[in-house]
């Protein structure tokens, strides 16, 4: 069976795998970048490209090594470098003699090239879209449960284990009804995880560049590290919300681009590109909703995110909410990151005590 490589998008890999069933291809995807794919990517990519580019290059090279013929990735029409990434990946693969053809998703007429190429029957295609959408929403719900429980779990790792079990079940679910039934089991499963009710977790928002927010390897397991330090994180990249924004559904919903733009306006009156507007808006909203802190995550040299950093610093100064800026590249050390996270949570705890 023909295989189709897809970018590593964290737990959403389950939903993405479901989305291509109707194309009569087997999905080839990973939940996170691996050390090997990153090494391959760093070797093949231009030195000044950003970390997501290098990771993605490596991912497709690895797929090509394993005999995968096709790949699919997000490409945008915005101002960020992502616009050129599909062509750049393709060029690197071609130059190295790998026979993998990468399709870009979105903004290319009504039918994306991927659909044009595989030409699926309309009814299975729509069913498949519905399943993928349901799985995406289920993963969104699962993520929220994990963030909440991980901060108060009595035995380290219980929440993560529960998440893995849920994901395995979700992967097996085939119909929309099964997926919904599976999603309904998440809450009871997490309720069964033993927790320490005396703990009052810190609330920290994770904002920034999407790939780094989702890829556990690239961000050195940021969510788990923070969870282990007693922090209930809110990762503001949720694919369900993102899809709604892409398809312009829910104009007035909480995380629609229109709403976020309105929130960010006192500090930022432009879209900038990438997820820069989202970073500013979510930071402001977190300050308003009484979060203890914000962690801003970006690859080193990320054009949109770096341009709004002075604005995030200003918001931190104006609202008094501490912000930790983390930049990642292939040389980032996990130990250094842990030290910074520990110091940051100490500051947040002391701040909370002082306020009390």
């Amino acid at each position: 069976m023909t295989a189709l490589a897809m970018q590593p998008w964290g737990n959403y890999a389950v939903a993405l795998a479901a989305s291509v069933e109707c194309l009569r291809v087997s999905p080839w995807t990973r939940r996170a970048t691996t050390p090997e794919t990153l090494r391959l990517g760093v070797e093949a990519s231009p030195e000044s490209a950003c970390l997501p580019f290098k990771a993605c290059t490596g991912h497709f090279i690895k797929a090509a090594m394993e005999g995968v013929e096709y790949g699919v990735m997000v490409n945008s029409r915005g101002t960020c470098r992502l616009r050129y990434y599909r062509e750049a990946h393709q060029k690197i693969l071609d130059e190295r003699g790998w026979k993998l053809r990468i399709f870009g998703l979105g903004y290319d007429g009504i039918k994306p090239p991927l659909i044009r190429h595989f030409d699926p029957d309309p009814i299975p295609f729509l069913q498949c879209c519905a399943r993928a959408q349901q799985k995406t929403l289920a993963v969104d719900a699962l993520e929220r449960e994990v963030w909440r429980v991980r901060a108060i779990e009595a035995n380290r790792g219980d929440a993560t284990r529960a998440m893995e079990a849920c994901l395995a079940d979700l992967d097996r679910a085939r119909t929309v009804r099964e997926i919904r039934a599976c999603a309904r089991t998440f809450a009871p499963r997490f309720a069964a995880v033993p927790t320490d009710s005396r703990r009052v977790p810190l609330r920290v928002g994770l904002v920034g560049e999407a790939t780094l927010l989702r890829d556990r390897f690239l961000n050195h397991n940021l969510e788990e590290q923070l969870g282990g330090l007693g922090v209930e994180v809110s990762n503001f990249f949720l694919l369900g919300d993102e899809m709604r924004n892409i398809f312009r559904i829910g104009f007035f919903s909480r995380n629609s681009r229109w709403t976020l733009r309105r929130i960010a306006r006192p500090y930022l009156d432009a879209l900038v590109g990438g997820h820069a507007l989202e970073s500013v808006a979510h930071t402001l909203r977190c300050a308003r909703e009484g979060f203890d802190g914000i962690v801003h995550v970006a690859p080193i040299g990320c054009m949109p995110e770096v341009s709004v950093r002075p604005i995030l610093q200003r918001i931190a100064r104006d609202t008094g909410m501490p912000t930790l800026e983390l930049s990642f590249d292939e040389h980032t050390s996990s130990v250094g990151l842990t030290t910074r996270l520990e110091a940051f949570t100490d500051v947040l705890r002391q701040r909370r005590e002082r306020r009390a």
Binding site: P46, S48, A49, C50, G78, T79, C80, R81, R83, Y84, E87, A88, K91, Y267, L268, D269, A270, L271, V272, G273, G274, A276, I300, G301, C302, M303, P304, V306, S307, V308, R309, P310, I311, Q313, R314, I315, S327
Partner: protein, 316 residues
Amino acid sequence: MWNIGTRWLRGRTGGAAGFAASSQEPIGLPLALYAYLHPGLWQAFFEGLGCPVVLSGSTDAAMLERVGLVSETEHCLPAKLLDAHMDALIGRVGRVFVPRILSLKRGYIACPKFGALPDAARARFGDRLAVLSVELDENREPLRTSLVRFARALGASGPAARTASERALAAWADACADDEKETAGAGRRYLLAGHPYLVNEPWFSEPVVRGLTRLGARVERMRFDRAPAPDGPLRWDTSAIMRDTLADLDARRYAGVIQLSSFGCGCDSIAERHFREAARERGLPYMLLRLDEHAGEAGMRTRLEAFVDTIGSRLP
């Protein structure tokens, strides 16, 4: 009603209110980054409106030292220099001008860093400097219209706004025409390529020009007064112009291309491959010089010598 609505939607001339009341108060123009995209234009524009202009001065070693103190560490050097130039204006003026540039050529987009410039400037210097801004987006309206709209928002009457805009555009055209684009001499000609804020910023380009002149070469700076081809591979305006210029170069006229790029430039990290390919297709040797605030001249001089010597031994 519709006009008022569209004006409200389009009229993002942030910080312009209150200008008329204090139009005699000088306005600071930082001589970095955006200043090189429209040389001469903003000074003529504000002077045309009867507002005195204070320039931040040229980039020097002290300014570069200031970069490390006031700017975001991960920016490219030209963007950092803008912060340093604004910092140098504190105490000399009460307000500065920083435009929001979304597109310089129709059908193209600007580097994303230009989109957040005024907001970032307000975030960093808002306590000490008022930031005046206008949105320039050729995809929505031509520069001339933006200028008139901006002048009107600043309180100028219709005819005064139009006169100031025309004068500003004429000053820009003059600055481009007057610009000394080529050094004298009889040696081989080299094209100095790069974004306008590198090629036309003396701090970056002068050492290269000096080095090449010393080696007996002639240097021509790249010009940006052309429209990019509509179907090129790059959508960033200045990058597309650079690529098109390289693709159209006459190999008999030039001995080689020297590209200036700043460390951390996101556009160049993608576009470099296209520049290199375009030069190769024309049969022209191409060298990339990456600059940052730590660049010493010795290393650069060695590379220039090697480049020029190699071409000298290759060509008859």
